[in-house]
């Protein structure tokens, strides 16, 4: 029996940034929304990048409707993982809620535009518990997918990797924070549990992971000496000053020729900004979901901004959105993390019913809202 429609409607537009972006919210989450009594407008083709058909969504409930991109954007709550192009904000209705990775702290122009349009926004990346821990985050997949890709590249650049020998594979992880901690664990398993089992059967020696924090990453002598014994370098740092690279291009010369660089930070080159932002590892290309492995002779190096030193090159694994490399587990995780928040939002009837002193998830939602961000500013 169909549920009685609740006051709110949800729109789930797709993400059309690059061909390799295959993520959409899964039928499991849409089914929950319908179970909670809201009408859901999903853009045609939703889930197709992961093998789902439109019927996998519409068969869930009469409350789930196929819609155009524009119709999805006209719903009361617009739910999309990555922030839409700002030109698409005009499709939103004043008073509607945009729930996406909006990155308020680093996107002041976006905040201003949403405020001017009268859109209620909730930034997924700002949803935190009382101790500041992010509740909608996939840092594990950033690390595991990145390290997995890096070992894929290492298999290409270093045939000896799979030759049983007395020496362990040596991985160096810079930055033992939220992403780095997962990178360490991933590195001990070659970035992939199945590969670790396979390699163990083949009698390979295992992986030794060297972890360094800020008190050593700035020590050129120590870093360059360590690089000489490094097969895979993983950057998981958070720099205080993004205008300066963590690893100047000259240091890369000390990595063995077969070594691979894994970029989990993926800061862009924004040389025209003031202050400018440069890649944490100087002179490497930045990847996306269309291409995330770059061998040392890849033409991507020729497309780096002029003036960026890139004489020394090693194979690179870099992707702006590492979780999207394996879209299904990524969206399962996000769906699980978002479900209790959406349940609270629906029960509250929108942001007016979400209180700063409310339940655990109400407080988390409120902290992430544009009204709280603007109010605090």
């Amino acid at each position: 029996m169909a549920k009685r429609p609740h006051g709110l409607s949800f729109g789930l537009p797709r993400m059309h940034r690059e061909a390799g972006e295959r993520r959409d919210f899964l039928p499991a989450l849409v089914g929950k929304l319908a179970d909670w009594g809201v009408e859901v407008f999903v853009e045609g083709g939703i889930g197709s990048g992961m093998g789902f058909r439109d019927q996998d969504y519409t068969d869930l409930s009469p409350l789930v409707h196929l819609a155009s991109n524009e119709e999805a954007f006209r719903a009361d709550v617009v739910l999309t993982l990555r922030c839409p192009d700002e030109s698409e904000f005009l499709k939103l209705r004043p008073g509607s809620i945009l729930f996406a990775m909006l990155h308020f702290p680093t996107r002041p122009k976006r905040v201003q535009l949403l405020s001017e349009l009268g859109v209620e926004a909730i930034s997924m990346d700002s949803v935190t518990d009382d101790s500041g821990r992010r509740l909608v985050v996939d840092s594990r997949d950033v690390a595991w997918n990145g390290v997995e890709a890096a070992f894929d590249a290492l298999e290409e650049t270093w045939p000896d990797l799979r030759t049983p020998s007395d020496r362990a594979v040596r991985v160096m992880v810079a930055g033992p924070g939220e992403i780095g901690k997962h990178a360490v664990e991933a590195a001990t398993k070659y970035g992939n549990i199945e590969r670790a089992v396979r390699y163990a059967r083949e009698g390979l020696r295992g992986v030794e992971v060297l972890v360094v924090g800020r008190n050593l990453t700035g020590d050129e002598d120590h870093m360059r000496r360590s690089f000489r014994a490094t097969d895979l370098f993983v950057d998981a740092t958070q720099r205080d000053d993004p205008s300066k690279p963590l690893v100047p291009n000259a240091w890369i010369a000390d990595l063995p020729p077969h070594a691979v660089i894994c970029d989990l930070v993926v800061d862009p080159y924004l040389l025209d900004e003031d202050p400018p932002t440069v890649s944490s590892i100087e002179g490497i290309p930045q990847g996306n979901l269309d291409q995330w492995i770059f061998m040392a002779d890849d033409p991507a190096w020729d497309r780096l901004p002029a003036g960026v030193p890139n004489e020394h090159r090693r194979a690179v694994a870099s992707c702006y959105s590492w979780p999207g490399v394996h879209p299904l587990p990524c969206m399962e995780l996000y769906g699980t993390q978002l479900a209790p928040l959406l349940e609270v939002l629906i029960r509250a009837g929108g942001m007016d019913g979400v209180h700063a002193e409310g339940s655990y998830h109400e407080r988390a939602l409120h902290r992430a809202s544009l009204r709280a961000w603007v109010g605090a500013g």
Binding site: D130, D166, K181, E185, L210, V211, G213, R214, L216, D219
Partner: protein, 375 residues
């Protein structure tokens, strides 16, 4: 009808200073609790006056330990022990760290006595992640204390000309992740800032997981280059040490050993369970640092080899070293758990269709847990 709540103290060892903070009493009041009975002296171990608890709710009052145990819901962080459970009235809801998977006898005791239980370590989200845990404090507190010992032992600890300190961490799981991060910061962000300002070389951490730790040659070489050895492993077979006592000899004489996995020795079974690093004593909140001549080594079971010794740190409850910070974390985490307990009768919790926290708490409820495993 509003349920009454008892908050008894933990009387395991003198060093156990933890009690929930007044904020929890205030929360229980708002969540609809009836009487809230706190044991006389509650909070004194962390410098909180009884008046702060009484001021947090007009329904709060001070009672004896027995009175606290007589309430409908009893909340105590560490499992209070078999005798205490036997003293509870049938139907009491005991909210505590029950560790059901490894303590099946507790589950059977609850069933026999008709005690209801919610195991805080069993409160998990839909993906199995624990919602009440403090592994961060395990890693940070243990590593901080270990570096205090290194600082005490090494005369050149703060000298700019010394080489980077070398830590070896066995295990890269949840506890290991925090230990690794803590180790790169000496377990103490303020000390790290001081050392960085004085241009003292930092700390490098080498992580070895089980695919390396069983290889004797590799391990002996690694141990020779280690200033601090951390055990953060989760062994599949606790009857086999990862670092047998013979290997401890490879560590420099001034090296320090830190046990974060805190597996106990158990010689009542055959084969016996031994610690991951063989020959270090069991610690608790009263004593967690053991120098080579400590009499604690003599109290170990005779089957444990202790010939090779270094300064060792072990504690059954590392988070308890910073009791107030620890209880701030746990208090915040159990608030939504208590809301479920106080809002809906225990038999109505729905592990499938309830709210997020209702599902999580229902999974941790002893009867349902027992039924799921005996079905």
């Amino acid at each position: 009808m509003a349920l009454s709540v008892g908050l008894p103290r933990m009387h395991k060892e003198a060093g156990e200073r933890r009690d929930f903070l007044p904020r929890l009493v205030s929360y229980l009041d708002r969540a609809g609790a009836g009487d809230i009975v706190v044991e006389d002296g509650y909070g004194s171990g962390i410098g909180i006056d009884t008046a702060a608890y009484l001021g947090a709710s007009p329904r709060a009052r001070v009672g004896t330990y027995e009175e606290c145990l007589g309430q409908e819901v009893v909340v105590v962080l560490r499992y209070p022990g078999r005798d205490v459970v036997r003293s509870l009235r049938p139907g009491t809801i005991l909210v505590s760290m029950l560790h059901m998977p490894t303590r099946p006898e507790r589950v059977e005791l609850f069933a026999e006595l008709e005690i209801r239980g919610v195991s805080l370590d069993g409160v998990t989200d839909d993906r199995g992640n624990r919602l009440v845990q403090n592994v961060e404090a395990v890693g940070w507190n243990g590593v901080r204390e270990a570096f205090r010992e290194i600082q005490r032992i090494h005369p050149r600890f703060a000298h700019p000309s010394r080489r980077p300190l070398r830590v070896t961490c066995l295990g890269a799981g949840a506890v290991g992740a925090h230990a690794i991060r803590a180790a790169t910061r000496y377990g103490d962000p303020r000390l790290r800032e001081e050392m960085a300002a004085a241009r003292v070389p930092g700390v490098e951490v080498t992580v070895a997981d089980f695919d390396l730790t069983w290889q004797e040659n590799y391990m002996l070489t690694r141990l020779e280059q280690t200033d601090l050895l951390i055990d953060a492993t989760q062994r599949e077979d606790p009857t086999r040490a990862i670092v047998p006592n013979d290997w401890v000899a490879a560590l420099p004489q001034d090296a320090v050993i830190l046990d974060l996995s805190v597996d106990p020795y158990d010689f009542s079974i055959d084969p016996p369970k031994i610690k991951g690093i063989e020959g270090i004593p069991d610690g608790d909140l009263d004593q967690f640092v053991f120098r080579p001549g400590d009499p604690a080594y003599d109290r170990l079971p005779s089957g444990v080899r202790t010939k090779h010794r270094r300064v060792a740190l072990a504690c059954y409850s590392w988070p308890g070293l910073q009791p107030r910070e620890c209880m701030e974390v746990y208090g915040g985490q159990i608030e939504p758990v208590m809301r479920v307990i106080l809002e809906r009768p225990i038999d109505e919790w729905d592990p499938e269709l309830g709210s997020y926290y209702e599902r999580a708490v229902a999974r941790a409820e002893v009867c349902r847990w027992r039924s799921a495993r005996t079905a």
